[in-house]
């Protein structure tokens, strides 16, 4: 198992109720796990705990069998793909090269080898011909793919992705999902958050639902994502529509 979280508790301030309470998660090799839950239930907070940006109060996070490590050691095993934002004017190639940093000796600069890895990462997500474009001059979908390529250049075993399909058009959503599925097929373990349950169905990911800071259900998306669970989770009536016997879409009732 690539990542194992046990009994994780996090609170913003001592006196307040925990934002995350007793979280257990397991992510196996080549597994896709989709975190679903309403706004403000702690999905992003959980990701920030896992990347070490927030200090957890209790619990253990094991990545590749180890608990606490330095930022550099952690970065060699785990890569984070944030939501595409920012107005960086760096080229896509320079942006992806940043991902090589955890493999550098102190004060080293990227060399020919890193450059090759960065170009390979860009071609793996299908945008190597944009390598010398500025990041703030490509589309939202291309930015998201660039950040995926940057994480690939890190050569990690785990990907953490914060709403990778948010604010993308339908076509780009599917392309990003396809990329996620292909990477998992190659052995990468991927934990991603989403507001669209059908995305988990589309790529047949495992699902963990999170409500009020606790994991409420986990399991294969086709089992977990039924009308009852979803209506309960989002507190609004939602139907799950099947095609050829398999659930494919979540349709809310207005």
């Amino acid at each position: 198992m690539v990542m194992k979280v046990e009994g994780l508790v996090y609170r913003h301030e001592q006196a307040l109720a925990p934002v995350l309470n007793d979280i257990d998660l397991i992510l196996g090799k080549g597994e896709m796990l989709c975190l679903l839950g309403p706004n403000g239930t702690g999905k992003t907070t959980l990701l920030r705990c896992l990347i070490g940006a927030l200090r957890i109060e209790r619990g253990t996070i094991r990545i590749a069998g180890k608990t606490s490590t330095t930022a550099r050691q952690l970065a060699q095993h785990m890569a984070y793909v944030p939501q595409a934002s920012g107005e960086s004017a760096l080229s896509l190639l320079d942006t992806v090269l940043m991902g090589r940093t955890p493999h550098f000796r102190p004060l080293a600069m990227p060399g020919r080898h890193d450059h090759d890895i960065a170009l390979t990462a860009l071609s793996r997500v299908g945008i190597e011909r944009l390598a010398h474009r500025a990041y703030n001059r490509v589309s939202g979908g291309e930015r998201q793919l660039t950040l995926i390529a940057r994480a690939l250049a890190q050569e990690p075993s785990v990907f953490l992705m914060d709403e990778p399909t948010a604010s993308l058009d339908l076509g780009n959503q599917v392309r990003v999902l396809r990329t996620i599925r292909d990477l998992a097929a190659d052995g990468l373990s991927i934990l991603f958050t989403s507001h669209q349950p059908e995305h988990a169905l589309l790529i047949d990911a495992r699902v963990a639902t999170i409500a009020d800071g606790r994991i409420t259900r986990t399991g294969p998306s086709s089992e977990v994502l039924n009308a009852e669970t979803l209506s309960d989770l989002y507190r609004t009536p939602i139907d799950v529509v099947a095609l050829n016997g398999a659930p494919v879409a979540c349709v809310p009732r207005i």
């Binding site: 920030r48 990347i51 070490g52 940006a53 930022a71 550099r72 050691q73 952690l74 970065a75 060699q76 785990m78 890569a79 984070y80 944030p82 920012g86 107005e87 960086s88 004017a89 760096l90 080229s91 190639l93 320079d94 942006t95 090269l97 940043m98 991902g99 940093t101 955890p102 550098f104 004060l107 080293a108 600069m109 990227p110 060399g111 020919r112 890193d114 450059h115 960065a118 071609s123 793996r124 997500v125 299908g126 945008i127 010398h132 474009r133 500025a134 703030n136 001059r137 490509v138 589309s139 979908g141 291309e142 793919l145 890190q154 076509g171 780009n172 392309r175 396809r178 990329t179 292909d182």
Partner: protein, 357 residues
């Protein structure tokens, strides 16, 4: 793997395409810039009331370097070695220092309006220098007090920010603003109580900045701090560039963000304080030159930093030449950098707006 909705190819728009900058750092363009700065330096040494040709200057410098007597006569020797060389070296050191610190701060604070003065180093240095003057201290004491004042001010800003909240860049900038305002008020108080006939003019003159008083001794004391600071900024240029991705992101790429930020602030502050201790509070250079460099080599920090240093050295040489030669009396450097800097900055803004929208 899969095609995506690409933005339309637009070969006419060069601004969209950023030059590749992965490893070689374009050694030839750097070498050309170093050569350019040296040419400007020799030219600057030929300017002045005592006319000297470039050949004479080169001969004097070469003779001094290999330790033989120059055939150019003692007057030429004196003018070059005792007067013009220190001044030219000081201009290059101050220009390179302020510009590299400016480039570092603009990247560190992810803000194109950041200048080396943003954390209070200039205000603190001004207070230190004027305090030493009020106590009738000598030249090197004034220089040392300016340096110490700058370092103390930035230290105070960093301390206040760390008390207010951990690792927030915004709090750091706000703390710098507060500390600057405080030291500026204290500086005004010093001017108010200073003897208006003997000390006040010297104070005002120091605050306007200038290289007329720069001596070899000033350089010997200040340059180690400036050069070490620049070297640290240069050695850490790659992790600094990764900081541009954002704090959380940089951390997930293996950067220890807060220690790195403190080291960069310390290095930039040493560099700037050393420059101010030589030249007084010279504004605009650290803000403007990194933007000029960005127009030349693009936004990649690993290239931007050395380019800013070289461009800053050349820029301050030229501005100091103007100060020395434009009028019969010498124009204070701080006035010239502001008068030249403001309109240049507007031009740069018009050209560069696209880059940071």
């Amino acid at each position: 793997m899969n095609a995506i909705n690409h933005t339309p190819e637009n070969p006419g728009m060069h601004a969209d395409v950023v030059a590749p900058t992965y490893c070689s750092q374009r050694p030839w363009s750097m070498a050309a810039m170093v050569f350019g700065v040296l040419v400007i330096a020799i030219f600057s040494m030929s300017l002045g009331h005592y006319p000297l040709s470039s050949a004479t200057i080169l001969d004097v410098l070469w003779s001094a370097l290999i330790g033989r007597d120059s055939a150019q006569g003692s007057a030429a020797n004196n003018v070059v070695l005792a007067v013009r060389l220190p001044r030219v070296l000081a201009a290059m050191l101050v220009g390179a220092s302020l510009s590299s610190a400016g480039a570092a701060f603009q990247t560190l604070f992810r803000n194109p309006l950041a200048s080396p003065a943003i954390l209070g180093v200039s205000a603190g240095a001004g207070f230190g220098a004027l305090l030493a003057m009020l106590l009738s201290a000598g030249g090197l004491m004034v220089q040392g007090a300016a340096f110490a004042g700058g370092v103390v001010a930035v230290g105070a800003a960093v301390f206040i920010a760390s008390r207010l909240g951990r690792g927030s860049v915004l709090l750091l900038v706000l703390s710098g603003l507060v500390v600057s305002a405080l030291f500026q008020a204290l500086t005004s108080a010093l001017k108010f109580i200073a003897d208006p006939l003997n000390i006040l003019p010297a104070m005002v003159f120091w605050l306007l900045g200038g290289l007329g008083q720069a001596s070899l001794a000033d350089l010997i004391y200040a340059s180690p701090f400036a050069l070490v600071g620049i070297a640290v900024l240069f050695l850490l240029r790659w992790p600094t560039q990764v900081l541009e991705a954002g704090d959380d992101e940089a951390k997930t790429m293996g950067i220890s963000v807060r220690p790195l930020r403190l080291i960069l602030i310390a290095a930039a502050t040493l560099t700037t304080a050393a420059a101010i201790s030589i030249a007084g509070t010279v504004g605009w250079v650290g803000l403007l030159v990194p933007h000029l460099a960005r127009l030349l080599v693009g936004p990649t920090y690993t290239l931007l930093l050395p380019t800013s240093a070289l461009l800053g050295a050349g820029y301050l040489l030229i501005v100091d030449d103007v100060c020395r030669s434009a009028f019969s009396t010498e124009l204070p450097l701080g006035i010239a950098t502001a008068i030249l800097g403001a309109p240049t900055f507007v031009v740069v803004l018009m050209r560069a707006r696209r880059q940071w929208s």
